[in-house]
Symmetry: none
Subunit: 225 residues, 4 copies
């Protein structure tokens, strides 16, 4: 998605030419600003991040920055969001492997200083500002959730999971798994402050996997009956 573009330009149609009549916004500035934001975030943390500082580091006037993003929050969302684009679901042939891979990916992402500095702060700010909350969800949370959905679909194709009974139930199951994976990984890394090792991933995956309702393999059956 393009930078915020407060004017209702290039919003939905990514292809639509700038159309505006005046001088077009500099794409280089966008890049420089986002890069500067990520760097500053990594170096100084959320609290040390200053609009003036970002502008200076990007070689851009503060006004240019405000013309594109209304506040530090929105800027950081966009700056950090791109990092989350690199998350992708592998298809490793088994549900367990897929989960472990995605958790590992997520852990690597959260180990970056810029995402650490930004993530909790954005969530915190978002708890008061619904606008921001929406944005954070769109740009950061959804991409993660997508992976869960995708992994689930793959597992269903493979026959590891039974197909969806109905839309609503499926959605609820995705939600709960998603909150569990994302929440737990974030809590361990950012709150408990302990590292995420392959061993931990394995244990956690076991915790998740064993009882998944609708699991067709016989592991659960044994546990359960």
């Amino acid at each position: 998605m393009a930078p915020t573009t407060q004017q209702p330009a290039a919003h939905d149609q990514a292809v639509s030419p700038p159309r505006g009549k005046g001088r077009p916004r500099s794409a280089a500035a966008d890049r420089a600003i986002l890069d500067a934001t990520r760097e500053a975030l990594a170096e100084l943390g959320w609290g040390g991040l200053t609009m003036g500082h970002v502008a200076a580091r990007a070689g851009v006037a503060k006004t240019t920055l405000y013309r594109r993003w209304p506040s530090k929050n929105e800027l950081v969302v966009d700056a950090v969001a791109s990092l989350f684009d690199e998350l992708e679901m592998a298809d490793l042939g088994s549900l367990r492997a897929d989960i472990e891979a995605v958790v590992a990916q997520f852990a690597v992402l959260l180990a970056r200083p810029e995402s650490q500095a930004a993530l909790l702060a954005l969530f915190a700010e978002g708890s008061r500002d619904p606008q921001l909350r929406r944005r954070v969800r769109e740009r950061i949370v959804e991409p993660q959730k997508c992976l869960v959905q995708q992994g689930r679909a793959q597992a269903q194709l493979r026959g590891e999971l039974s197909p969806d009974r109905d839309e609503a139930t499926a959605s609820e199951e995705i939600d709960i798994i998603f909150d569990t994976i994302a929440g737990t990984v974030e809590h361990r890394l950012l709150v408990s402050g302990r590292p995420i090792t392959p061993d931990w991933i394995s244990r956690f995956t076991t915790l998740l996997l064993n009882p998944l309702p609708g699991l067709t393999s016989t592991r659960a059956d044994q546990d359960q009956g």
Copy 2:
């Protein structure tokens, strides 16, 4: 725990006499400040909370405030920490019931606007300030973790869980369960922004319970079927 009291005065035991020669510190001021902090937090959120505002609302000079707490962060920790004191582990006779009860309690706590405003913000600030991090863990995170430990012990007494093999493993198991419960609940409420209903609690507990390694009984089956 009493307020920070940078001077080595009255620490834990309220019994210690005022000691100093001059005028003793006003206990009423402490209470007023913490109350004001919680109220302001609920009304204005973390970002809207200012030391000046708190002081004014508490009818207290800023000086008084800084004499007791070195910064906004520490103040909020103390103000919010007391809320977490009310968490307690029930003993309802089964692990499942105990878990559901504690999750429900936690959910209720996180529904309060003051804890919502404070929690993520404190975690975020803590990720840069080790001092604060320590403090947050002592006052907020540990009490929660304690419950997990306690619930586990109860279950072991009841025979639902096998006794600890060794210290290290036990600690790891507690950690993973704790991060999962706390992280998931927080993520659902504060990030996904969806309510925690009895139904959700039941599903989540099932997810946790079913395969727990070391689970000796098949209670879970009964609960589920």
Copy 3:
């Protein structure tokens, strides 16, 4: 005089053909800009006048504005100068009547909000910017001074004043009279903030033409000759 026309084009004579090959400058824009300037000046005063505002009000791009006038100062000089073109010396048959008439005219001119807002401000800016100073003198001060010269010549023709002894003395006398008339009227209106009534004009003219009212000795006569 045509607008600044930084390119060495049409300067005094409007007859000079546009010469250039491209699209000629819009005369309508010039008019619109100057009108907008005068209006904005009257409404918002000097301080409230911005180039952007003038451009918007004139329905013109800022570029167009800067193409013609290098700065706010120059623009305002041109916008206000035309007002001073309407000053003219009457020949009413006596020096006193002529002076009173010209003072009255000047007072009327200075009562306009746009000239009030502009005049002192231009003088003030001019005290640092010799370029502007020159321009202000050419367009605003000289026309006034001309009247003094003209009035003096008329009075000499009538025999009310003795003819010039020499060039230098004449110039000095004109200067002193001019500074006195212009300075006094401006000071009364713009600094003291009191109105200029026919009665005041009469008193002032008397002061110029006569000795101090109430002067008891004839010292002055002795001093003079």
Copy 4:
């Protein structure tokens, strides 16, 4: 008069102790600010004068500056006003000598770069801001006017001028003389940009005290009596 003191403190009673409960305002800061303002004014002129610059040069925070003066205008009034306190009426034994002395004093004052930079600008701003206008009059214009009043009284004592007939007429006469002296001197120095020499002073004083040089008829006498 003390600095603006926006709080209704020490306004009328110059003797009243600061009275306020908190930390009193630093008198040193006041002095430093006013000095810095005068210096900056002399060096950079009105346009180059910046609140931030003044604060920095005075070794003071911008906030401190704004706590005392609401804007650049008010600050400059106070900074420049003190210069005008040094104006005083000599008693040299004759009206002519007194006038020449006071005009000379005024000319010297207006030759200072700080007053040149400030005076017209203040007058200009004042033409839009009645608050400022009042202030300028109180602190700058009145002191000058006082001298006229005083000189007139001296001349009356000496018998050079006939005593006041009535209050109103006296006031009007003072006004007209005052506007003439102040306006003319300012116009010559600041608008015409020519120096004020002893010779010019003599000519101007003659103009004030006598009829127009070279006036051939005795019209004035007829008009007057």
